[in-house]
């Protein structure tokens, strides 16, 4: 079976969604002829036309604001925000309009909008191109938030997000766009809002999502060489959280490390730690530890490798948890 990159898997997923439903539109900056700066929409305008793949003016609030109107008219817009740090001009439309219109209208105005955001660091970019703002959206009632970690999930989850009648903020780890995997389209996908154990283990549960899944898996391999068995869970969905597999794992291991690129302060790890303490208090052998970005703005790229959690920092947290 042929290997496929995450970027290509997303393209194929979007293509399938557009073929399945003529109301699906793609809108964003440079998504047409250029195919997006990461080429995720490559070839779609050529095949589906300029009415369905819309090169927009350079105005993020405009992208989301017009998407609201298109959704009211029965369309399913998939909006591309070019980089994580550029989503903030659209923040008002996402938080005050997209997230709330279903509620305000008591269900009369569903908002089947997908906001695709390439996120995270590790590509040596200039400022505003490496951020991880997922917690800000998970904190907003009315939005659903997911993060993909591999090409297979990317292919299915983008189609599931487009099919969702709720707005979905869809985080794509930009440094993993070129990672490859085998994609068997005949295998049924798991539901969009479900977490999954991606490596079984017995000693420590490592919870993560997006770009850090690969890092956590590498840490698990390194740990196994030292005789430690890490269970790695790819959360996949950040809002709603799927705590079922998490609780089962914590009851088995009693040790938890949460890993994400976003700053630790009030990040996803904080919510996850609180929920684990509420539901698994007597199973815990150590406090839930968090590994993430420091509480600084994203740093200049020459030091980003030290800012970002890596295999060693994950293993350090594993050591501290087991030594508690």
């Amino acid at each position: 079976m042929a290997q496929i990159t995450m970027a290509k898997a997303l393209t194929n997923g979007l293509r399938a969604a557009m073929e399945a439903d003529p109301t699906v539109l793609i809108m964003g900056e440079d998504v047409g002829k250029l195919g997006g700066v990461f080429r995720v929409t490559d070839g779609l305008q050529k095949d589906f036309g300029e009415e369905r793949v819309i090169d927009t003016p350079l105005a993020e609030s405009g992208i989301l604001g017009t998407a609201v109107g298109l959704a009211m008219r029965g369309y399913r817009p998939v909006c591309e925000i070019q980089f994580d740090g550029f989503v903030y001009p659209a923040y008002d439309q996402i938080v005050s309009q997209v997230a709330k219109l279903h509620f305000r209208s008591q269900g009369k105005l569903p908002m089947p909008i997908v906001v695709r955001i390439p996120f995270g660091g590790g590509i040596g970019a200039v400022e505003h191109h490496s951020e991880s703002p997922e917690a800000q959206f998970a904190h907003t009632a009315g939005l659903k938030v997911v993060a993909v970690a591999n090409p297979v999930d990317a292919y299915w989850m983008i189609q599931q997000a487009v099919a969702s009648d709720d707005p979905v903020v869809f985080f794509e780890p930009k440094r993993r766009y070129w990672e490859k995997a085998e994609l068997d389209e005949s295998v049924e996908p798991v539901p969009l809002h479900s977490s999954r154990v991606v490596r079984e283990g017995n000693d420590v549960t490592v919870l993560t999502y997006g770009p850090m899944v690969k890092t956590a898996l590498e840490a698990a391999i390194a740990a196994s060489e030292e005789g430690r068995s890490l269970e790695v869970i790819d959360l996949r969905t950040l809002s709603p959280l799927d705590m079922g597999p998490v609780a089962a794992s914590v009851r088995k291991t009693g040790h938890v490390v949460v890993v994400h690129e976003a700053v630790v302060n009030l990040g996803m790890g904080a919510e996850i730690a609180a929920r684990i303490s509420e539901s698994c208090f007597y199973s815990l052998e150590a406090p839930v530890l968090r590994v993430g970005g420091f509480d600084t703005p994203y740093p200049p790229s020459r030091v980003e490798e030290e800012y970002l959690p890596d295999l060693d920092r994950v293993l350090d947290a594993v050591d501290r948890s087991l030594a508690f």
Binding site: L25, E51, T56, P57, A59, S61, G62, L64, G65, T66, A67, V68, G69, L70, A71, M72, R73, G74, Y75, P89, D92, Q93, S96, Q97, L101, H102, F103, R104, S105, Q106, G107, K108, L109, P110, P112, A141, G142, K144, S164, D165, D166, H193, S239, P240, L241
Partner: protein, 379 residues
């Protein structure tokens, strides 16, 4: 840089002598001709507009009273802006769609929205109970200017649905976006202008320049007449006497027709005045003078229509009495309906967040329901 004279900037304060102001009915109730615009309305239809104006004002008066009596949390009065709203609202066809701010009670009336729905929002029982799709009237939008982008997006949807410029007048549709003078400083409004322009979207930007954004006068928002801004975005702008229901009707009708035909957006600046406070929580005596209010009182949007109708055979004393009686009945409907409005149940809010409920929110609801039921029987 020295400040120019305000008169140079804004023209002669929008009175009938302003050559740029489209006016078809003077404050004295005299009809005027305009080279570009005419209202295709007979006197019976004008009497109908009069009825709309009076009833809308009565809804507003009653709602203000209900707020004063503690029945509404707040009310945003449209006093003085009835002609701008009825004129533009009546220019819409059933298939058109309006995106309002939170003050478009007159447009809501034209779209057949029961005023009780408007009161429900200000009473705090819901956040907009009417059906936007059924009425062609979007939800009230309190974040200033956000709805202009929704209007533009909806208009782009009409284009994709093939109901713009098809030549079938029974199908072709347009969109009208309402906003105020303050909103023209918002990024979203300027983005909406750009999008509508480059996509040639069938949207009418209907700005009610009521001279005040709470306490900030129009000269804090602009140094050129607002309608002239449209040129910079690449579409036509028109200033209309916002207290002249015939002119508002004629200009909006022309703009909507242009939109439906596929000729793109138009900016309409309805030059009017907010006769009341920004909302019932505001105190305009802190920032504006009574002289100004008195000058605008002389341009009342309803009095001039009544004066005109008196010169016709379309409306006799019986007609005017009938409208007053209808207004009284409407006021009773508004008052009794408001007082009889049931409060929402807190457990319902959990079900309205998502189209597909999440397990964690369902669990929160369940836990809170259990908490509430733990008080049952306790005193």
């Amino acid at each position: 840089m020295s400040d120019p004279e305000l008169g140079d900037v804004f023209g002669p304060s929008g009175d009938g002598d302003d050559p740029e102001l489209v006016q078809l009915l003077t404050p004295e109730g005299e009809r005027r001709e305009h080279p570009d615009y005419a209202a295709d309305l007979d006197d019976e239809a004008i009497a109908g507009l009069y009825r709309d104006l009076v009833l809308t004002r009565r809804i507003d008066t009653e709602a203000t009273a209900l707020q004063r009596q503690g029945e509404l949390g707040i009310w945003a009065s449209l006093l003085g802006q009835e002609a701008a709203q009825i004129g533009s609202g009546r220019a819409m066809l059933p298939q058109d769609f309006a995106f309002p701010t939170y003050r478009e009670h007159g447009v809501a009336w034209c779209r057949g929205v029961d005023p009780l729905y408007l009161l429900g929002l200000f009473r705090g029982v819901d956040q907009g109970g009417w059906d936007p799709r059924e009425t062609g009237f979007g939800l009230y939008t309190i974040v200033i200017g956000a709805q202009t982008l929704h209007a533009t997006g909806y208009a782009m949807g009409l284009q994709r649905d093939g109901v713009v410029g098809s030549g079938d007048e029974s199908r072709d549709a347009g969109v009208i976006a309402y906003f105020g003078d303050g909103a023209t400083s918002q990024g979203d409004v300027n983005e909406a202008f750009i999008w509508a322009s480059v996509f040639n979207a069938p949207v009418v930007f209907f700005c009610q320049n009521n001279q005040w954004a709470i306490s900030e006068p129009i000269e804090r928002q602009t140094r050129i007449p607002l309608y002239q801004r449209a040129l910079g975005f690449g579409f036509p702008g028109v200033r209309v006497d916002g207290n002249d229901v015939l002119a508002c009707y004629a200009v909006t009708q022309a703009a909507l027709r242009r939109a439906r035909e596929g000729s793109g957006p138009t900016f309409v600046e309805a030059y009017t005045y907010r006769m009341g406070a920004h909302t019932t929580s505001d105190d305009p005596t802190r920032y504006r003078l009574n002289d100004e209010l008195d000058r605008w009182k002389a341009k009342d949007p309803i009095a001039r229509v009544k004066a005109y109708l008196h010169t016709t055979t379309a409306a006799d004393d019986q007609f005017f009495e009938g409208v007053e009686q209808e207004a009284d009945e409407l006021a009773t409907h508004v008052r009794e309906g408001c007082l009889g409005m049931p409060d929402p149940h807190v457990l319902d809010i959990f079900d309205q967040v998502y189209a597909e409920q999440t397990p964690e929110l369902a669990e929160q609801k369940e836990q809170y329901a259990a908490y509430l039921s733990s008080f049952e029987g306790a005193h």
